[in-house]
């Protein structure tokens, strides 16, 4: 993956920059020793690493503003960072950049059940937002599988999703307001406990902007009352096509499950070996979960079981107890871990129209043979967000490149059938150079124009999202 050459005048100026940062932050909040900056050299896309010039860990919005003002004055690129779990290289540093980590900002600032909202500092982890309100019967809905580790900061920047977003939406649908610090240090408040914006929907624009428009330090999030209960069913089918048709029929029948998860045979086999969840061995498996009281669950599951029955399932199992429900989810939740046990893997994230599911899975199978690399598929079927996991061997020369080329083919296929490159992980550096398969130059120009407004010098997370070629002139202006 190509990254722009670091700006030599910035790297030469390191001592001065660090001195200025130390003046506005506590001593332990500025990290510049090479052995320590290594801790920030990569995110969840571990194939790429580069230690930053320095890393800072501010504890308040004012400190964030001070850091940004200094970096702005000194012309230093800034890479915002939450927990570093991005799978797209969204938080990958460059050698001339300062990592701005919000991990120390993890307080709950306000909970307000009457208005169903919570205000937090954005370094707080996703799961601990729910943790703060669950005793009172509430939860924060977006639930990325990384929720134990990932921060609200990264969730907002990536507009992260989760297994339950078919019903509850993704981050942008659950975000009410932010405190956003612009690259020049200006502190702004966007949105709040009220719904909808007075002017342009800047909140909607910030969410998913991958740390390129400003640093989000506080967030007002919508919280929801916990449902009375939830119950999954497991269904096995002897072809991907049939499983895909079943998904479509369930949706058409007017039931809206909270989750419809899909696993194919390679994935079932791997997770079975790893987690022993007791899955049936078959070509395709669905986990469908519905919520409500026991009676309501029965009502919905009746409809769903009937539809599944019409598609000749090889297995059809409704969880009869809490324990059984856990086991049904166990395999799905450990799918990535299971893959990691067998091999190195790359996790893709394209979305396709649900109707194209059988075709796309067949095509991925063919490509797998052509490239000589195995693929396992696990994904959110209700919304067409696929997660093909390509297995490769990082120690084998050329295998990573082969895997990336294969991945690019799959993503192009997603775009060709009417879908997109990324459903929830973000573009980062990983999909940056594929953007022009999905967007015409004018489409990208319109997006880059937005960055021009928020960050005219292109100092915030500069080599991400847009193809290097497309953003070259703007980044060059920054160096000059």
């Amino acid at each position: 993956m190509e990254m722009p050459a670091p700006n030599a005048s910035v790297t030469a100026n390191k001592a001065h920059i660090v001195t200025r940062l130390r003046r506005v932050l506590p001593a332990d909040a500025v990290i510049d020793a090479p052995e320590e900056t290594r801790a920030y050299e990569c995110d969840g896309l571990t194939a790429y690493a580069c230690p930053p010039l320095a890393a800072v860990l501010p504890a308040t919005t004012q400190e964030v503003s001070d850091v940004l003002r200094i970096c702005h004055e000194e012309g230093v690129p800034v890479v915002p960072r939450g927990s570093g779990t991005s799978l797209a290289g969204g938080a990958l540093p460059t050698a001339d950049s300062v990592i701005l980590g919000v991990a120390r900002m993890n307080d709950v600032l306000e909970t307000d059940y009457d208005n169903r909202m919570i205000r937090v500092q954005t370094g707080r982890t996703n799961l601990s937002v729910t943790g703060a309100v669950e005793e009172d019967g509430f939860f924060y809905a977006p639930d990325p599988s990384s929720q134990l580790a990932c921060a609200i900061a990264g969730n907002i920047a990536m507009n992260s999703g989760g297994a339950h977003c078919l019903k509850y939406g993704v981050t942008t649908n659950n975000l009410l307001g932010v405190t956003l610090v612009l690259m020049d240090g200006t502190i702004t408040q966007i949105g709040g406990a009220h719904l909808d914006a007075p002017g342009y929907d800047l909140l909607g624009l910030i969410c998913g902007s991958e740390g390129q428009l400003g640093v989000v330090t506080e967030a007002t999030l919508r919280i929801l009352p916990k449902p009375e209960g939830a119950r999954p069913v497991l269904m096995g089918f002897d072809s991907n096509e049939v499983a895909g048709a079943c998904v479509s029929d369930i949706i058409k029948a007017g039931v809206l499950p909270v989750a419809i998860e899909f696993m194919d045979r390679p994935c079932i086999e791997a997770t079975e070996r790893f987690a022993g969840a007791g899955y049936p061995m078959c070509e395709a498996l669905l986990i469908v979960e519905v919520e409500g009281s026991d009676a309501e669950i029965d009502e919905q599951l009746n409809v769903i079981m009937q539809i599944a029955g019409r598609h000749n399932p090889v297995a059809l199992r409704q969880a009869q107890s809490e324990d059984e429900a856990k086991r049904i989810w166990l395999g799905r939740k450990s799918a990535f871990g299971a893959m990691g046990q067998i091999n190195d893997y790359m996790c893709l994230d394209g979305t396709i129209p649900v109707s194209e599911l059988p075709f796309v899975l067949r095509r991925i199978g063919e490509l797998s043979k052509e490239f000589g690399l195995d693929v396992a598929n696990v994904f959110h079927a209700g919304d067409g967000n696929m997660h093909p996991l390509i297995l490769f061997d990082a120690n084998k020369p050329g295998d990573l490149e082969l895997c990336e080329a294969f991945g690019a083919e799959i993503l192009k296929l997603c775009v060709e059938v009417g879908g997109c490159l990324t459903g929830e992980h973000g573009v980062g550096i990983e999909k940056r150079d594929l953007m022009d398969t999905q967007f015409a130059p004018a489409d990208l120009e319109a997006q880059m124009a937005v960055k021009d407004v928020f960050d005219p010098q292109w100092l915030l997370n500069p080599a991400k999202v847009f193809p290097l070629k497309a953003s070259a002139s703007r980044r060059a202006a920054q160096v000059a």
Partner: protein, 379 residues
């Protein structure tokens, strides 16, 4: 008047425009209008271009009548999640509402509290910017984080950043049964507290409104439940029990009556054909009653108290009265002389908004005069 019938014609029309354009769909939502300039109507660019019920997605040209879309969805037992309001009765306009107009004004109804606003269901747009360039963003799939989300930006931009030519939505299944809990005679403060308790319960409330002067003239609090028949009865019973100390609760589940009640709320029919200005206040739900007291006049609450429709004597500026309450006020009906239609923004946000506008419409020809202005120094 410019009346393009294709996106290409629209693009040419905008590129060749030599002065301001007044962008129009069905012309039924004249919020802040009329702006100066030649009318550019999108109503001729019509048609549902894609509808996949099994994928819950629908794509339509911006000029497509809302009624046509609702009919196509109903035929498959589906619907628009956000229940868009029809402004005609409130504003006394005639014409055919278009889906592009709905998106431009981010128009949402009572279900906004559960299913989100128009912008939350919108998954893709195509538009023509102020230079005449055709731009697309988002797409036809419901999970998409590829690049910046200009879809949200275009929703509610009132045509000032670009003229929408096509919009794509995530849709939802229609429901088997609707029921409303009715509570009579509550004072505003008490009513909003009751709505808040209902919304904080696990019973999936899809509408929470209060009218100090309801359809019969007396205070009426309404809580809506939707879903499968048995589930709705179950939840109605549980909710009734939960709220039993609030007063006499009746459950209404006659389809025609519940539909009429919620249409009445959604379209603010209480103020149809009345005198005076109408403001739309967006506040923290629990601040709703306080906002109403400060503004005076007649009000209707939706969104659990967070949306307050206020009817006040013509010429009233409610913003000074609301000072200190977070949120914003929009003048929806009334002469805009001397009053900003949209809530003025603080300087840093106004600078961003102006910056965006200068990028998307460098000649400043799209609906000049609409959208928020910067706050005056003394505001």
């Amino acid at each position: 008047m410019l009346s393009p019938t294709t996106e290409e014609e629209l693009s040419t029309a905008v590129a060749q425009a030599s002065g301001p354009l007044r962008i129009q769909g069905g012309g039924t939502r004249g919020i802040g209008g009329p702006t100066p300039g030649e009318v550019c109507s999108v109503a001729g660019i019509t048609g549902i271009t894609l509808y996949e019920p099994g994928a819950l997605t629908l794509v339509a040209a911006a000029g497509t009548p809302v009624a046509e879309i609702e009919a196509a969805l109903a035929a498959e037992n589906q619907r628009l999640p956000f229940e868009p309001m029809d402004h005609r009765k409130l504003l006394g306009t005639t014409g055919t509402p278009t889906i592009g107009g709905v998106v431009s004004a981010n128009v949402s109804g009572p279900r906004r509290i559960q299913a989100g606003a128009c912008r939350d269901s919108l998954i893709g747009v195509r538009f023509v910017d102020g230079r005449g360039t055709v731009i697309k963003n988002g797409g036809r799939v419901m999970k998409n984080v590829t690049g910046y989300d200009l879809v949200k930006l275009m929703a509610g931009a009132h045509g000032t950043l670009g003229v929408l030519s096509e919009v794509a939505f995530k849709v939802l299944p229609a429901v088997e049964r609707v029921a409303s809990l009715h509570i009579k005679g509550l004072a505003d403060e008490k009513a909003v507290a009751v709505l808040s308790r209902a919304l904080g319960s696990p019973f999936e409330v899809s509408g929470a409104a209060h009218a100090p002067r309801g359809r019969t003239g007396d205070p009426m609090t309404l809580i809506r439940l939707e879903g499968f028949a048995e589930s709705v009865s179950y939840r109605a019973a549980r909710l009734k029990e939960l709220l039993s100390d609030a007063g006499d609760i009746t459950v209404q589940d006659d389809p025609a009556t519940t539909a009429a009640d919620w249409t009445w709320i959604r379209n603010v029919e209480a103020f149809a054909g009345t005198e005076g200005d109408v403001w739309r206040l967006s506040v923290k739900p629990s601040d709703g009653p306080e906002a109403a007291v400060r503004v005076g006049g007649d009000v209707v609450y939706d969104w659990g108290g967070g949306l307050v429709w206020a009817r006040v004597p013509a010429g009233t500026d409610v913003r000074p009265l609301l000072k200190g309450l977070p949120g914003h006020a929009t003048l929806v009906r009334g002469d805009s002389k001397g009053r900003a239609i949209f809530q003025p923004e603080p300087a840093p946000l106004a600078a961003l908004s102006e910056g965006l506008r200068a990028k998307f419409d460098p000649r400043g020809i799209l609906n000049p005069g609409l959208m928020a202005q910067a706050q005056k120094a003394d505001a």
